[in-house]
């Protein structure tokens, strides 16, 4: 499984390195405002072509760029219903703490589980290479996190049911 993961992450890394070339750009639609153009989407010429990098049907990454911001949305693989519930809980846990996370978007883009919004102000404060490293690391870890959670749920269910049924033995 990991042989396709490294190719997938390498493709995402090089796309992110290109998409992260953002600059400060004041809004040309509203005076004295400075909005992330990828969210405002009011001028078509300022938006880059969005690209989707997919490892398989349920595991893909959407990168939307613009002149001053990038939006990265990740869909995590969910092989059964238990994983669907776990991924939903995990992404809601992260998204509710989006303010502390700085680069996380509070609501994921439709069709995806987690979305990051990185603006030129973030790239001025933080190193671009480290931000990309973080996102790649996040994608590597999220699959193992979900499997660990699933194992934990199954083992806890086994323990609870064993303890409960012991009273009838």
């Amino acid at each position: 499984m990991s042989n396709t993961l490294s190719g997938y992450l390498k493709a995402i890394r090089s796309s992110l390195e290109a998409a992260f070339c953002v600059r400060n750009f004041a809004s040309q639609v509203v005076e004295r405002h400075n909005k992330p153009e990828v969210e405002a989407r009011m001028s078509k010429e300022l938006l880059l072509q969005p690209i989707v990098i997919a490892r398989e049907k349920g595991e893909k990454c959407l990168i939307e760029g613009s002149i001053n911001s990038v939006r990265i949305s990740i869909a995590i693989k969910k092989s059964d219903e238990m994983e669907e519930v776990l991924v939903d809980r995990f992404s809601r846990f992260l998204a509710q703490r989006a303010e502390d996370f700085v680069i996380l978007r509070r609501a994921p883009v439709k069709g995806y589980d987690v979305s990051f919004l990185i603006t030129n102000f973030h790239s001025e404060e933080m190193k671009k290479d480290k931000l990309i490293d973080f996102i790649i690391h996040f994608m590597e870890e999220v699959n193992s996190e979900i499997s660990a959670l699933k194992l934990a749920v199954n083992s806890r269910a086994r323990v609870v049911s064993g303890t409960f049924l012991r009273q009838f033995v």
Binding site: C21, N24, A26, Q28, E31, R32, E45, K127
Partner: protein
């Protein structure tokens, strides 16, 4: 050897724009906020002392230009204003410029004779401003057609009339900025055209047939016969007006450049998101030169047991690459502006708060 100077520290902020005075002893720059800092600078050692902080703007200052002969500074910001600052011996005094724009100003340049200046803005127009003595302020004329998006960069032709403008609608245009109130006579014909009434579009070029990219930087060569530009599709190109306006362009493998400058008639230097300036030569066709940077040697952090446990405690990992945040180039973040000092010396400022002088 490049001379790096950390202009902004505690906290480290990007330097958005900078301008030198006539003899390169003083530097004006903005640390990514609404202030213009003027410092006394020693080019040999890189030592600087703060002289003035000009705080008339209310939003981020986007561009500064210093007129060397007249000793005037023009600054423009995202608050739709521009100010012309004059020195009276003790301090700098602002004069408001009536730009008549209703969006942010993005770039500003004095004309070669310093009697007018051009400002690019997000209102999809260029404002050419000149001084009106009766009312003691600077008034503007607009160049609107056929600009369809924000102007990202500007440069004057040495004949004091033509302006090259790069815009986020993927086009480079050459306009006439001839203002009859300040010019004494009609301009002579150049390779760019003969008739030059105000606002006339002399030439328009796209960045590529496939669409192209936002034009981040434009520069006329010192003679004015060649025009170089850099765009977001990582391309750099030179338009040779003497050769029937032929475009010689290279699609580079680097990340997009943000600025370009000529060092003479055949040498160019461009810099941007790759953190290092690249040199090019143009002798009929554009040729990629080399990356001009001396990699900064990182100190070898020996993997002591103590260091390992400390990183495990603070960063949650023993991976040494996760700890280091230094990049091995002189600039630690994207370069935003290049200014040519004299001959082959130029200075760059970037998002890491550094000014680097490249001899």
């Amino acid at each position: 050897m490049p001379l790096p100077v950390q202009l902004v520290s505690n906290p480290v902020l990007p330097v958005t724009c900078h301008a030198w005075n006539a003899d390169f002893t003083q530097l004006a720059f903005s640390p990514n906020n609404n202030e213009v800092h003027i410092v006394k600078f020693d080019i040999k050692t890189g030592a600087f002392t703060k002289l003035f902080v000009l705080t008339e703007h209310t939003h981020t200052v986007t561009a500064i230009d210093w007129a060397p002969k007249a000793n005037r500074i023009v600054s423009c910001a995202q608050d739709r204003n521009a100010y012309v600052w004059t020195y009276d011996g003790t301090k700098w005094n602002p004069t408001l410029v009536i730009l008549r724009i209703n969006r942010a100003a993005t770039c500003v340049r004095w004309s070669p004779n310093e009697d007018k200046f051009a400002t690019g803005s997000g209102s999809r127009l260029i404002s050419v401003s000149y001084f009106e003595k009766e009312n003691d302020w600077w008034v503007s004329k607009h160049i609107k057609k056929p600009i369809r998006s924000t102007i990202l960069s500007l440069h004057w032709h040495p004949n004091n009339v033509l302006i090259a403008a790069g815009s986020s609608d993927f086009k480079i245009r050459v306009f006439s900025g001839w203002v009859k109130e300040v010019e004494s006579k009609k301009p002579e014909a150049t390779v760019w055209g003969t008739k030059m009434p105000f606002g006339e579009l002399m030439a328009e070029f796209g960045t590529s047939e496939l669409g192209g990219g936002w034009v981040h930087g434009v520069a006329f060569s010192p003679s004015g016969n060649k025009l170089a530009y850099v765009a977001h599709d990582s391309s750099i190109a030179v338009i040779d007006a003497e050769n029937n306006k032929a475009i010689s362009s290279i699609a580079t493998k680097d990340l997009p450049y943000r600025c370009v400058a000529w060092l003479g008639e055949t040498n160019l230097v461009a810099a941007g998101h790759d953190y290092a300036p690249i040199s090019f030569t143009f002798n009929g066709s554009l040729v990629y030169g080399a990356k001009i940077d001396v990699p900064v040697k990182k100190e070898d952090k020996t993997a002591t047991a103590m260091a390992k446990f400390r990183t495990m405690d603070t960063k949650g990992t023993t991976d040494s690459t996760a700890v280091g945040v230094e990049v091995d180039s002189t600039h630690q973040n994207a370069i935003s502006e290049i200014r040519v000092l004299n001959g082959n010396t130029f200075s760059t400022v970037g998002n890491d708060g550094q000014l680097v002088i490249w001899p």
